[in-house]
Symmetry: C2
Subunit: 204 residues, 2 copies
Amino acid sequence: MPQGQPEAVPEDGLTTRERRNRPLVIVHTGLMKGKSTAAFGMALRGWNQGWSIAVFQFVKSARWKVGEEAALSALGRLHNETGEGGPVEWHKMGSGWSWSRKEGTETDHAADALEGWREIQRRLAEARHGLYVLDEFTYPMKWGWVDVDEVVTTLRERPGHQHVVITGRDADPRLIDEADLVTEMTKIKHPMDAGQKGQRGIEW
Amino acid sequence: MPQGQPEAVPEDGLTTRERRNRPLVIVHTGLMKGKSTAAFGMALRGWNQGWSIAVFQFVKSARWKVGEEAALSALGRLHNETGEGGPVEWHKMGSGWSWSRKEGTETDHAADALEGWREIQRRLAEARHGLYVLDEFTYPMKWGWVDVDEVVTTLRERPGHQHVVITGRDADPRLIDEADLVTEMTKIKHPMDAGQKGQRGIEW
């Protein structure tokens, strides 16, 4: 953790205190796993600050994040029962979303993804949460289901003090331009290269 | 998440099931933050599997990980009270360690680091935990306080089913050779470049 003097003081008219409290857009991208994992690790810190945490998983299958969902949901329940930490909501895109679950209808992933983004826009406008984890949200943007320029504008104009973390490969350059912090997870070595299979507790 | 066939099937005489359950040595290295955060995110998955989780923080200051410590410790208490998930231990190197806190003595970081490693060796020999997070453990190795070859040998010969995650910059090549999975966190963009100060809930 680099401490002390930043490399440059920006001419943004803000005080250090204001800059310290600026809400951030954070992108975790790159080919390697760890993008989502690090985002959920950040949610631990936010929870401890008492922030309202909301996770939106833009994936078809809910299998791979069950461990994080169970643990963060347990922290959310702990908050509800004891007041410790902050509340946690975990929404995933399956056949629609938890707030509008469709029964027995054909799944339209593009429409579902856009519906998820519309809900996030509403919540951002209301300053509903302290930390949003938009997990694998780069893909709906890449596939043209959600308009990148609209995402950038919504993020730029969001009110209040809302941090947003977006994960996924192939983050659009416009999103990277808008982001305050971008980390790329790079593969040096992965057990699957040597024939290792994914395993419980490590991969999900 | 790459699914399906691995790129190569190793000639290690193991069945797929055995390979799926192989305990892993994982290294998170690189210049960017996210190394520890992703390790603590992995601890969420391990907790949900009911594994015994043990974190050893090899840093002088305890300030920067308070959020993760509070949240994971809360999950550990939840386990103790309800049986949900697994137990969590969090040890940090300050003036000595929690199991041997020295009062009013001068701090010898090299000796403290070695003492921490000796304790980890004992626990590995007893197969005490399911997941060890050795946070910023690359530094005592880099500084010669802990012998890298001894670490590699201990990891290679550890019994049972114990996953070990080691974080920190400048991981030694011998450690990287021994590891099953190595991720490098690379900076693309960081707010400190633009004069942003570290902030509560994001940096700690």
